[in-house]
Structures are given as structure tokens and as C-alpha cells.
């Protein structure tokens, strides 16, 4: 691993293990019929991107994400219980059960929102950058998105604005090689994505997501540059270990390809590096893993036990509290039927 002396590798390992462990529990909760629907996008294999970039952020920085974002949010310090409750559509969740896996957010942690529209959240980071510069806050905003969004027009409008206005923004493409069943080479004639960002005037890098240390180092440099007024772009190459969503068994790719892809495991690579360098023993890492497994097991029970939102909550938060609310159709009918 190419990293500097004070590389927080043990912490990065812990973060990645927590993500892996959490995602495995999401899959389990789905099998147990405890999730709200099946549109659950696991980030197993992508932990290096989430852990590496988020470790380089300051607490006052913010970010937006795509739909495969459990890992990014956990790496930012989310409470896994509240995350799992949200994924189950329960009122103890981060968005009171209304957002679910694909629309999770937490303003307290600077999570401006996950997005189920490919590319939808990218310009929000540009807007956040505009705010921070105008308000002089010194914060940076990061837009996370998948390789699929590399073909979405709004990305290019956003990169251009960020470069033109020299905003404190970092674009992070989590390039897991696939958008649903479409591999990047079937979506683009040229797949060097950093090359594209560069021509807009962004500081651009490609990095191997199997190496969390390299991701961290690159992110640190690009975030510092963005903070100083030169926005950046980081493409983190990795592999989506499993199907697109819970129903997808990936029939469009070969077993060999999957096997080779899964060998690019950022978690295993970091674990081996820690042991090789004498930073941790196998027994110590096993203990970390076990502790995390317990913590994540509890999220399932928490989510199952949590209450669904009450029906009355349906009409909350369409508009701000205290503002005129939508009149429930059933109440309206009562009113009309009462006078006919």
C-alpha cells in the first residue's frame, strides 16, 4: 500500500469491516422479509472508496450520494441501527421510514441525501460548494455517484460549473464496473473517466479502490485542493461483488469475471497489510471483526422491533411544520359526503 507514515490503516480497516458486516445484515433482513422492498443496493466490494474518501473529510464538509450508499454513510459515522430502521421503513430510521435505502440523509452528519435518480444528487454538491464559498465556511462538498452516472448529462454541466467558478467540490465516481447489467465498456467508448474531468479543468485522478490507503491519500490531496478553490474528480475503481439489487443474480457476467472481481477485495487487502506490517495480529483483527458482527447483529433486531410510522405521519413534511398541509383525501370525502 502506498501510504504515508500516519496512515490510519487500522481505522480504515474497521470502517470497511463495519460496512461489509452491515451490508451482510441488510441482505439477511431482506431474506427475513424485514426490509421495505427489494430495491437494496449493497456496496460490498466498494468499501475502499467509502472508507478512504470519508476519512479525508472534515466534520463540517458535506456530501451527496447515489443509491448504493450504505457504506458511504456508515463511513461518515452513521448510527447503523437508525440506518437499518430506515431500510426497514420504520419511524426510528434516519428519515422516519419515508426515504428508505435509496433516499437516506442526515443533515447533522452533512449527508445532503442519497438519490434514486442516477446523477440526481451531483449538482447539489455544486450548490453546496457555492454556499460554502459565499458564506466563507471553508467546507467542501463531495458528490458520490456510480460509473453509470458518467453518462448522465447533468454530471458534465456540474463539473463545468464547479471548474468555472472554482468551487470547493469533489466529484467521486465509485466505478464498480457495472451499471445494472451494463459494463462500462458497453456504456462508453473511452472508459478513462479522469480524462474527461481533466478537460473541464478539474484536478482529476484515477485510483484503485482495492487499496484503501491509496484512496485515502488521493482523496486527501483532492479535498485539500478543492478547499483551496481547485475542484477535483476522483474515480475509484472497484468491483460490485453481487447483483445490482436483491433480485439480480447477474446472469450477464461470467463466473470467472465475478471470481476475478471478488479477488479485488479492499477488506482482505487491508487486513493482510495490517498483519504484514505488524500493525495488528490475526487474533486482534478477529476480535475486531467479532465485536463488529455483534454490533451489526443488533441492527437487525433493532429494525424488526422498531415501529412503522403512524398513518398520521403520512401528511407530515410535505411542507414545513406550521405551513398549510395537504388535506387528506379521506377527510375531504367526509366533508363532501356529509353535505350531499
Amino acid at each position: 500500500m502506498n501510504d504515508r507514515p500516519n496512515m490510519p490503516l487500522p481505522d480504515l480497516y474497521r470502517t470497511m469491516r463495519r460496512i461489509r458486516s452491515f451490508e451482510e445484515r441488510v441482505a439477511e433482513l431482506y431474506v427475513r422479509n424485514g426490509t421495505a422492498g427489494s430495491m437494496l443496493h449493497l456496496s460490498i466490494g466498494e468499501e475502499g472508496a467509502a472508507a478512504g474518501v470519508c476519512a479525508a473529510l472534515r466534520p463540517d464538509d458535506s456530501f451527496t450520494t447515489h443509491h448504493r450508499s450504505h457504506g458511504i454513510f456508515l463511513a461518515r459515522g452513521a448510527d447503523p441501527n437508525r440506518m437499518m430502521a430506515e431500510i426497514a421503513g420504520k419511524s426510528d430510521g434516519y428519515c422516519r421510514g419515508k426515504g428508505g435505502s435509496m433516499h437516506i440523509a442526515d443533515m447533522a452528519l452533512g449527508h445532503l441525501g442519497a438519490n434514486a435518480i442516477v446523477g440526481g444528487g451531483i449538482p447539489h454538491a455544486v450548490g453546496a460548494g457555492l454556499s460554502y464559498r459565499r458564506l466563507g465556511s471553508g467546507a467542501v462538498s463531495v458528490a458520490f455517484f456510480g460509473d453509470g452516472a458518467m453518462q448522465q448529462g447533468v454530471l458534465y454541466e456540474s463539473m463545468n460549473m464547479a471548474a468555472l467558478w472554482q468551487l470547493p467540490v469533489l466529484f467521486v465516481c465509485v466505478n464498480n464496473q457495472y451499471g445494472m447489467g451494463t459494463r462500462i465498456d458497453r456504456a462508453a467508448a473511452r472508459t478513462d473517466f479522469a480524462e474527461r474531468a481533466e478537460v473541464f479543468g478539474l484536478a482529476a485522478m484515477n485510483v484503485d479502490g482495492e487499496n484503501v490507503g491509496a484512496v485515502f491519500t488521493a482523496a486527501e490531496a483532492l479535498i485539500a485542493s478543492a478547499r483551496a478553490g481547485r475542484p477535483g474528480f476522483l474515480c475509484v475503481s472497484c468491483f460490485r461483488f453481487y447483483g445490482h439489487g436483491r433480485m439480480d443474480k447477474s446472469p450477464y457476467r461470467s463466473a470467472e469475471e465475478e471470481e476475478a472481481g471478488r479477488r479485488r477485495d479492499p477488506l482482505l487487502t487491508a487486513r493482510n497489510a495490517l498483519i504484514e506490517r505488524g500493525l495488528a495480529t490475526t487474533a486482534e483483527l478477529d476480535a475486531v471483526d467479532a465485536e463488529i458482527a455483534n454490533e451489526m447483529d443488533a441492527t437487525i433486531e433493532f429494525a424488526i422491533a422498531a415501529e412503522p410510522p403512524p398513518l398520521s405521519a403520512m401528511f407530515d413534511d410535505v411542507y414545513a411544520p406550521g405551513e398549510v398541509r395537504p388535506e387528506p383525501m379521506r377527510m375531504r370525502l367526509e366533508r363532501i359526503l356529509a353535505c350531499t
Binding site: A36, G37, S38, M39, G89, K90, S91, G97, K98, G99, G100, M102, H103, N115, A116, I117, V118, G119, G120, G148, A149, Q151, Q152, G153, G179, M180, G181, T182, R186, A187, A188, Y252, P308, P309, L311, A313, M314, F315, V318, P326, E327, P328, M329, R330, L333, I336, L337, T340
Partner: protein
């Protein structure tokens, strides 16, 4: 052909296959329509029969997908553009509403845009606010676009086949909860012509006007009401543009009572248009105000407990009709 058990999904696939066999100008273009077989499996296997030249997998670039379909339709192809979710209309409205819908008119009738935009909408999968909407009202509000929303397996087939013969852009909205609906159908038996509403269930006490998935909800309500001695007539609009007011008005003039059922949001939605027309055209025959049962005026929540409560149900229709008729 003969009677066969088909799902809504299979009927759509059959319609595409039959149309593509007859007309080699037809190409399907969209995300995951080829190798993957469509996000909801509608185009599964078609790439093996028709090849990647006619089942064109695209990058995730919706405005360019629809825009390219417009250009192709103007120059000799008959594109079927697939929009994975109707919610993504947000991305493509320029190409659909400002371009496809207006080209024939703006250019003085020189050319039309014979494309079909296939998509699907509605609730039922806890897919949340950005993947569960019913946006047919946006389409209805745009002159120049045809709009079909099949409720049955036979209509899934025939309306799609007919869409692929029309000279103007058609938005074809399927319902995600209907794909597994199964019926015994004989596809050789013609259905009602395009633009005509179907009476799914005859009755003399009240007219229930519905389309897409709400047709079967209304049918179940009619069945339940029938057990109480109330005979509801269920009309399936099939196409919202053209809109068959003649069939609706005839029914309402007989029953004197009408309820419009829709899964789209209540305010300024398709049901509002229907109620306005019924009121204008049948005023002297109405014994009660025409009512709308529609989705609540809120985004669709993910929580399954809330999601089901956002749209009309069998019991809501039943209660409403009962009270409307004072029974």
C-alpha cells in the same frame, strides 16, 4: 391462435415481437432492454431473436435516449424508447413535451414523430418517492402526445400493437404491479378499437371510471357492492388520449352517479379532468357531485405501512359509493 395463459409482461413482449417481425423499422432503445431483458423483464429474450441492432442497450442518458428516438422517428425508424420508470420523465420532458409533441405542429404538418415511449409507474414495491409515481397527468397536459395505460393482459398486447402503427408519439404507461397479472386470452380475437373505453362490468346504479391498475380495484369494489345490491358499472378508459367521453357520458347519463378512480395525485390530476368533463357533459343527469378517489397529494413514502394508504382501495370505493347512494 388459441386461448393461452399469458401474463401482462408476456403479452407486452409478444406485442413487441409480433410488431418487430412485421415491421423491421421498429427498434427498441433503452437502458438494459437487450442483454438484461428489461428492468421488469418485458424485453427478455428479444435480443436473441432480433439482435443488438434492434434491441439497443444504451448508457444511462435518458434525455439522449428519447431525443435520439425523436430523430430516428423523423428519419425512417419506428423507435420504441424505454424509460425504466415513469419518474424519469423528470429528465426527458424537454425531448418529450417540447420536441416530440410539437414537431408536427410547429413544422406545419411536414413530418410526424411516430415513436412509442414505453414506461411503467405506480406504487407497490416500496420503491419510494422517486420510483413510484403516477405521472400520466403530465402527459395528458401536453397536446401532441397520445397516452395508453393498459389494465388487462389483452390490452397490454393490443394497445401496444396499435401504438406501433400510429403516426404520432405515444406514451405507453404500464403498471409495475400488473406485470405478473395472468389471464387466459386469445390474442387473435380483436379487442375494442384504439381510443374506445371498455365497460368491464355493467351496472345501473353508479359509474366507476378507472384506468390501469385501478380498473381491477374498481372491479373488486363492484363485485363487493353487488353483494349489497348496488350495481356499479366499471369503465376502463384504456387510453387517456384519445379520451372516450362518449362511453363515459352514456354510462353516467344512465346511472346518474359517477366516481373517478385514479392512482395519480388528486390535485390537477387526470381524475380532475374526467370529473370536469363529466360535470360539463352530464350535468342535468347527475344526482350527486362526481367524486374523485385518487392518490393523496403527497410524495410516495417508502414505508409499506404508509405506501398502501396513499392510494384508493377496494373498501374506500365501496364506502364512498354506499354513502353517495345513501345506502
Amino acid at each position: 391462435m388459441a386461448m393461452q395463459e399469458l401474463t401482462y409482461r408476456e403479452a407486452l413482449r409478444q406485442a413487441l415481437a409480433d410488431a418487430m417481425t412485421e415491421d423491421n423499422r421498429i427498434v427498441v432503445i433503452g437502458e438494459e432492454v437487450g442483454i438484461y431483458g428489461g428492468a421488469y423483464g418485458v424485453t427478455r429474450g428479444l435480443i436473441d431473436r432480433f439482435g443488438a441492432e434492434r434491441l439497443v442497450d444504451t448508457p444511462i442518458s435518458e434525455p439522449a435516449i428519447v431525443g435520439a428516438a425523436v430523430g430516428a422517428a423523423m428519419t425512417g425508424l419506428r423507435p420504441v424508447a424505454e424509460l425504466m420508470y415513469v419518474d424519469f420523465l423528470g429528465l426527458v420532458l424537454d425531448q418529450l413535451a417540447n420536441q416530440a409533441a410539437k414537431i408536427r405542429y410547429m413544422f406545419g404538418g411536414q413530418i410526424g414523430v411516430p415513436l412509442v415511449l414505453r414506461t411503467q409507474g405506480g406504487t407497490g414495491r416500496s420503491a419510494g418517492a422517486q420510483h413510484s409515481q403516477s405521472l400520466e397527468g403530465w402527459v395528458m397536459h401536453t397536446p401532441g402526445l397520445r397516452l395508453a395505460m393498459p389494465a388487462t393482459v389483452a390490452d397490454a398486447y393490443h394497445l401496444l400493437r396499435h401504438s406501433l402503427t400510429l403516426p404520432d408519439p405515444v406514451v405507453f404507461i404500464e403498471h409495475k404491479a400488473l406485470y405478473t397479472r395472468k389471464e387466459a386470452v386469445d390474442l387473435a380475437v380483436p379487442v375494442l378499437p384504439w381510443g374506445r373505453a371498455a365497460i368491464r362490468c355493467a351496472g345501473s346504479d353508479v359509474t366507476l371510471v378507472a384506468y390501469s391498475r385501478m380498473v381491477s380495484v374498481a372491479e373488486r369494489a363492484a363485485e363487493a357492492l353487488s353483494n349489497e345490491g348496488i350495481e356499479a358499472e366499471v369503465i376502463d378508459l384504456r387510453t387517456l388520449n384519445p379520451l372516450d367521453m362518449e362511453t363515459v357520458a352514456k354510462s353516467v347519463i344512465r346511472t346518474g352517479h359517477a366516481v373517478v378512480v385514479s392512482e395519480a395525485c388528486l390535485t390537477a390530476g387526470p381524475a380532475a379532468e374526467l370529473v370536469a368533463r363529466i360535470t360539463e357533459e352530464c350535468f342535468d343527469f347527475l344526482e350527486d357531485p362526481v367524486l374523485r378517489l385518487a392518490a393523496e397529494d403527497i410524495p410516495v413514502p417508502v414505508s409499506p405501512a404508509l405506501e398502501v394508504a396513499t392510494i384508493p382501495t377496494v373498501s374506500l370505493i365501496q364506502d364512498t359509493v354506499r354513502r353517495m347512494l345513501n345506502r
